[in-house]
């Protein structure tokens, strides 16, 4: 069966959404640098709605044009900091969006080219697979304004790069290139500039096209458990999910046999 498409693109808050072949595409759509207008660059309710289609098999996040995202724009950041009453809530909303993406039961791939700074890098870190172009640049520039990454980057980055490298990246505010980013496990694949989107989209298709959703969901849940649970609990749960799928598969095979008989 051909995958489903939702051709009508929806753009809210400088973030766009469409579905191609059962893959949802979120585009940070505020060119040229695709600054995030606010921490919740897509409202959580909107994101829940977008990701609620039960045939979706993967999500791709990319930036419009040459860049992934420059993160929060400085003047927005200052305005946000001055608004003391609401700053906590504003940041919590942004965190909720990234947590929602990270905890989805379908794979989320970030297709990164050009700049991937600050909040943009935090979006990428919440994805399950990061693919970047050879000209991509990464940084947490927050320190230059006397602040730090606020959307979970300080928590997600050590999980990939280790503490020492994370501290250096955040405290220096320095920019690193694609190769260095791969070396420190911030990105998983580097491809040529023209190919980032196609490569990422094709990988998602290849991984999910022939796989039933329950299998995809079980794999994603097992990976989530690896992040969150103790080894004993994670293994117990993995065996339970295996058993559930095996039961269904055994019944399916029995059914096939009976039909043949």
């Amino acid at each position: 069966m051909e995958g489903r498409n939702v051709n009508v693109m929806e753009t809210i808050n400088k973030t766009s959404w469409e579905i191609r072949n059962d893959i949802g595409i979120i585009t940070l759509d505020n060119p040229p640098e695709n600054y995030l207008v606010q921490p919740d660059f897509v409202h959580i309710e909107t994101l829940r709605k977008w990701t609620s289609y039960d045939y979706l098999k993967g999500i791709l996040i990319c930036g419009a044009g040459k860049h992934f995202s420059g993160g929060g724009k400085l003047e927005n950041l200052f305005r946000m900091i001055r608004d003391k009453e609401n700053i906590n809530e504003t940041i919590s909303k942004g965190k909720a969006v990234l947590e929602h993406l990270e905890n989805l039961d379908i794979p989320v791939v970030a297709a990164i080219q050009g700049i991937c700074f600050g909040g943009g890098l935090e979006v990428a870190l919440a994805s399950h697979i990061r693919i970047c172009s050879e000209n991509a640049l990464f940084a947490f520039p927050e320190i230059n304004q006397g602040v730090m990454p606020g959307l979970g980057g300080t928590l997600r980055c050590p999980g990939k790069a280790g503490f020492a490298k994370t501290i250096k990246l955040i405290l220096s505010g320095d920019m690193i290139n694609a190769e260095d980013a791969q070396e420190m496990n911030l990105v998983d694949f580097i491809v040529s500039k023209q190919k980032v989107f196609d490569y990422s989209f094709n990988l998602l298709q290849k991984l999910t096209k022939d796989r039933p959703l329950p299998v995809i969901n079980a794999v994603m849940k097992a990976l989530k458990n690896a992040r969150l649970l103790s080894i004993e609990d994670a293994m117990k749960e993995e065996t339970r999910m295996f058993c559930e799928l095996a039961l269904a598969e055994a019944k399916r095979r029995n059914g096939l046999q009976e039909n043949q008989a």
Partner: protein, 229 residues
């Protein structure tokens, strides 16, 4: 000392080193009986004090092609409790025992080394992932093919692969379900060293002798750096 008698897997000792060999040629398929016998041997190893290392390998040309899936499915269908809607109500004990024996393997306080030759697929790769070190011969073939027959690795393989190779590699390898080479396995940290096929057992043994003198599992990476790179 009485080693439990087994037909699908053998445990023998050479001085203070144990050799556990998967033995249902040609592909050393892991049957229900294998999992029972394997568990009893690991339990036996846990209670021994005089042994200093354990080397796991497959009889003949292959490590193992993994679980006997049709039989496993049949057993699960028979043994699994379901609710009135036919949904899973409880995981059968024999299945839980399988992952528990891998946990027990990992918690042995002697170095556990998998020496992998030929194919190492599915549950066999999961078993190898729970040993402390993995050496493989050139041309060894790895894979977690479960997703291609509508299943997932179920013995903690996803968990372990995520810890060892990272989330992205685990996701790609498990969902793709295709096999990969020894070189890829090295790149993913799934194996610690590739050695010539014929030198596999001697390399594993030499490594065991080095590392068993003062084995502490938390120094794993240090030993790999010191003796295997």
């Amino acid at each position: 000392m009485k080693i439990p008698e087994c037909s699908t897997v053998q445990l023998v000792f050479d001085e203070d080193i144990g050799f556990l060999e998967l033995n249902s040629p040609p592909s050393n398929t892991m049957t229900l009986e294998f999992f029972r016998e394997f568990a009893s041997l690991i339990e036996f190893m846990r209670d021994q004090q005089e042994f200093k290392a354990l080397i796991i390998s497959g009889h003949g040309r292959h490590f193992s092609a993994g679980a006997d899936v049709p039989v496993l499915l049949k057993e699960i269908l028979e043994k699994t409790e379901t609710d009135k809607d036919g949904r899973l109500a409880g995981v059968p004990e024999f299945l839980s025992n399988n992952y528990k024996s891998l946990l027990m393997l990992e918690s042995l306080n002697i170095p556990v080394i998998s020496a992998i030759r030929g194919v190492c697929l599915g549950s066999a790769l999961e078993l190898a992932l729970f040993s402390h070190f993995r050496l493989c011969g050139e041309e060894a073939v790895f894979g977690l093919p479960e997703a291609s027959f509508n299943l997932v690795p179920g013995l903690g393989g996803i968990y372990k692969l995520c810890c060892i190779s990272g989330q992205a590699t685990a996701l790609v390898r498990v969902l793709k379900g295709s096999t990969f080479t020894a070189e890829d396995a090295l790149k993913y940290n799934i194996v610690d060293k590739i050695v010539p096929k014929k030198a596999l057992m001697t390399s594993a043994l030499a490594f065991a002798r080095e590392v068993m003198q003062d084995f502490k599992v938390e120094k794993r990476r240090l030993y790999i750096k010191k003796y295997l790179s």
